[in-house]
């Protein structure tokens, strides 16, 4: 159960020989992720934590068989090329961990992937994880207890904080999806909520938004129009963020009058979605909806 990835997902790590790539390959293997290959141009024949390395995804598929998903640790300058390779090699899901990719490069590969029906998670995401089955990301796996809450977020550490709060009150997670901190991302709240709606292992959704853009407002309006729903509790970071300043993430900026906290909170509440004031309130609000 869960969405996007499960215990049968066959994974390739792009940029597996780099410091980050190698380090997280080990942690993902420890979690149980089925990593069948890695790429690193010119490093064919190497092994990283027992995973064979290839120059291209094509030869990895030829030698290892079918691959479902990739996770990209390639530096920003070369990341778009890695994404195109993954899309053209017929993978279904591409998780782009890389931070700092130029905006117009992202626009191009996100549009390209969408036309080809390939899911891009990120860029600038901690990745995604279906609890107990597959981790395609850099999050500490142990903070997510198994359960029926779908967690979708624009943040990294804040998501771990919230997962811990949920766990303390006995709420586990089905899948956690990091949308990514950049202004444009492959998936948005609506896409992921739709997947959670269809997932029998997910009972309710926790949405973690932040200032910048209007993804939360768009979700609220979409949710309002649905006839079949699963309960949602939201938390939005950045109530104290001033306009015009980038709050860490490239996407976390209030500009041209769009993206402030009050608009997000108001639109969510007008759609009947409860918004928590602090991360620690989320479990009890969720409890009131589910019990």
């Amino acid at each position: 159960m869960g969405i996007l990835v499960d215990s049968s997902t066959r994974v390739i790590v792009q940029g597996i020989t780099g410091r980050e790539g190698a380090f997280h390959t080990k942690l993902m293997l420890d979690y149980g992720t089925k990593i069948v290959a890695g790429t690193s141009p010119g490093k064919r024949g190497m092994y990283v934590h027992g995973v064979p390395v290839y120059n291209t995804i094509e030869e990895a598929i030829r030698e290892q068989g079918f691959i479902d998903a990739s996770i990209v640790f390639v530096p920003a300058r070369f990341a778009p090329d890695a994404v195109y390779e993954a899309v053209d090699s017929g993978l279904k899901t591409v998780v782009v961990i890389t931070e700092g990719i130029p905006l117009h490069d992202e626009l191009k590969f996100i549009n390209y992937a969408r036309k080809k029906g390939v899911v891009i998670v990120g860029p600038n995401t901690p990745g995604l994880l279906t609890v107990g089955e597959c981790k395609l990301g850099i999050m500490p796996g142990h903070v997510f207890k198994r359960g029926s809450i779908g967690l979708v977020s624009r943040s990294g550490t804040l998501t771990y904080e919230i997962a811990r709060e949920l766990g303390k009150q006995g709420f586990g997670v089905s899948t956690v999806v990091g949308l990514g901190g950049d202004p444009v991302t492959g998936l948005d709240f609506i896409d992921v909520y739709d997947m959670f709606l269809r997932d029998q292992g997910t009972e309710a959704v926790v949405l973690v938004g932040e200032i910048g853009g209007d993804a939360e407002e768009r979700f609220a309006l979409y949710y309002r129009g649905l006839s079949v729903r699963k309960p949602v509790v939201a938390y939005i970071a950045g109530r104290t963020a001033p306009p015009g300043k980038r709050m860490g993430h490239a996407g976390a900026i209030i500009s041209m009058g769009i993206g402030d906290y009050s608009s997000k909170r108001r639109t969510l509440e007008e759609s009947g979605i409860i918004v928590a004031d602090t991360p620690s309130q989320i479990p009890s609000l969720l409890g009131s909806l589910l019990r």
Partner: protein, 377 residues
């Protein structure tokens, strides 16, 4: 990164966009020189990167070079919304028939560049969207296809301009898209774009924002990056931290943008006021933590420092050592409240305890303690 109006206009001019004659002046004497070159009545505009310049008195007219000197010297010794004016743009005064709005930006939902077009120009897009939401036409560009000329025909209708201007508008929109792509811009805005009394289209104001992630492709702009920062922001950014100055009295250090914002917001929720946003990023070492803590211990306005770390890649023992190092170097200038958990938490707590620093497990408890300490001052 925001460009100044005069920089944006210089770029626009290179791409064939009609802008008023004139140029930037850094002294009143230069302003006189430009005014006499331009001739006739001129407009003198303070060059600042904050919005609402017109309402704040940053745009003045002068009917002679002598008056331009006077106006320029007043503007050059003033502040607009707290920002010192160090340059003015001196330009010919344009006879305006109608003010229009035209911009090219990125639509996050569509994941595409989009032209925003409106015949109601001259007000900020925020106000425009609020007051006349039905009066903004959106024209999307597929980034794999780029600009094509039918878009100008749609824009012409939305702007209610005569057909005789279709060629000019086509080149204008084409130039905007070229500027966006070639400068890696996230915004190219002409507001107002005006229809002059003699029937031409001229960009009277210009704004360009360049994507920060693309600055390495534009070394000439990268050099200028950070010039709008306040002093303390500059110090923090030179150390490589993601930092924003706020106006409260509780200093904040955290890891991850979302958690840092959530820490600030919780301070407000429990009745305090955050002094800043400082994200030390993932996997910060002892030395990085030391630099961050030293910086915030020296932060002039904050009375308390709250460190909130959720250890994953970041190790709590490294954080604790960094805090102890910082206190050793600059001393306990203010109370420091630490919340940490996760990787190597026990070891981190032991190190802090040895130095008589309390640490919390729960974020809410730490935030409440920080708010309490800020009240005691």
């Amino acid at each position: 990164m925001k460009l100044y109006e005069y920089e944006a206009k210089n770029i626009a001019k290179q791409y064939g966009v009609p802008v008023p004659r004139g140029r930037v002046a850094f002294t009143p004497l230069e302003a006189r020189q430009v005014a006499s070159e331009v001739g006739g009545e001129v407009v003198v505009k303070a060059q600042v990167l904050v919005g609402g310049r017109g309402l704040a008195g940053g745009v003045k007219f002068a009917s002679s070079p002598e008056e331009a000197v006077e106006v320029a010297s007043r503007l050059l010794s003033s502040e607009i919304r707290g920002v010192k004016v160090s340059a003015v743009l001196v330009e010919e005064k344009i006879c305006i028939s109608r003010e229009l709005y035209l911009s090219l930006t990125i639509d996050r939902a569509a994941r595409k560049p989009v032209f925003l077009v409106s015949e109601m120009g001259g007000v900020e897009i925020e106000d425009l969207a609020r007051r006349y939401p039905g009066k903004i036409k959106r024209i999307y560009i597929d980034p794999e296809v780029g600009y094509t000329s039918y878009m100008a025909r749609i824009a012409l209708t939305a702007l209610n301009l005569p057909w005789s201007l279709i060629g000019d508008l086509d080149s204008l929109l084409k130039s905007m898209y070229r500027i966006m792509v070639e400068y890696d811009a996230e915004l190219v805005e002409f507001n107002p774009l005006v229809l002059t009394c003699d029937g031409r289209v001229v960009a009277v104001d210009a704004k360009i924002i360049v994507d920060d992630n693309s600055l390495q492709r534009h070394p000439e702009l990268q050099k200028l990056h950070g010039r709008e920062y306040l002093d303390f922001e500059r110090r923090a950014k030179e150390l490589g931290f993601s930092y924003v100055e706020l106006d409260g009295d509780i200093g904040v250090i955290s890891n991850g943008a979302g958690l840092t914002m959530a820490t600030m917001d919780s301070i407000l929720y429990y009745g305090g006021r955050p002094a800043n946003f400082l994200d030390i990023g993932g996997g910060a070492t002892r030395d990085r933590v030391k630099e961050a803590v030293k910086l915030m211990l020296q932060h002039p306005r904050s009375r308390v420092l709250l460190v909130n770390i959720f250890g994953g890649i970041t190790r709590c023992d490294e954080v604790a050592l960094g805090i102890v190092d910082a206190l050793g170097e600059v001393g306990g200038l203010k109370p420091i409240i630490v919340r940490m958990l996760g990787t190597n938490e026990e070891e981190g707590r032991r190190i802090l305890r040895e130095h008589n620093i309390d640490s919390y497990v729960e974020m809410d408890e730490a935030v409440k303690a920080a708010v309490e300490a800020s009240r005691r001052g």
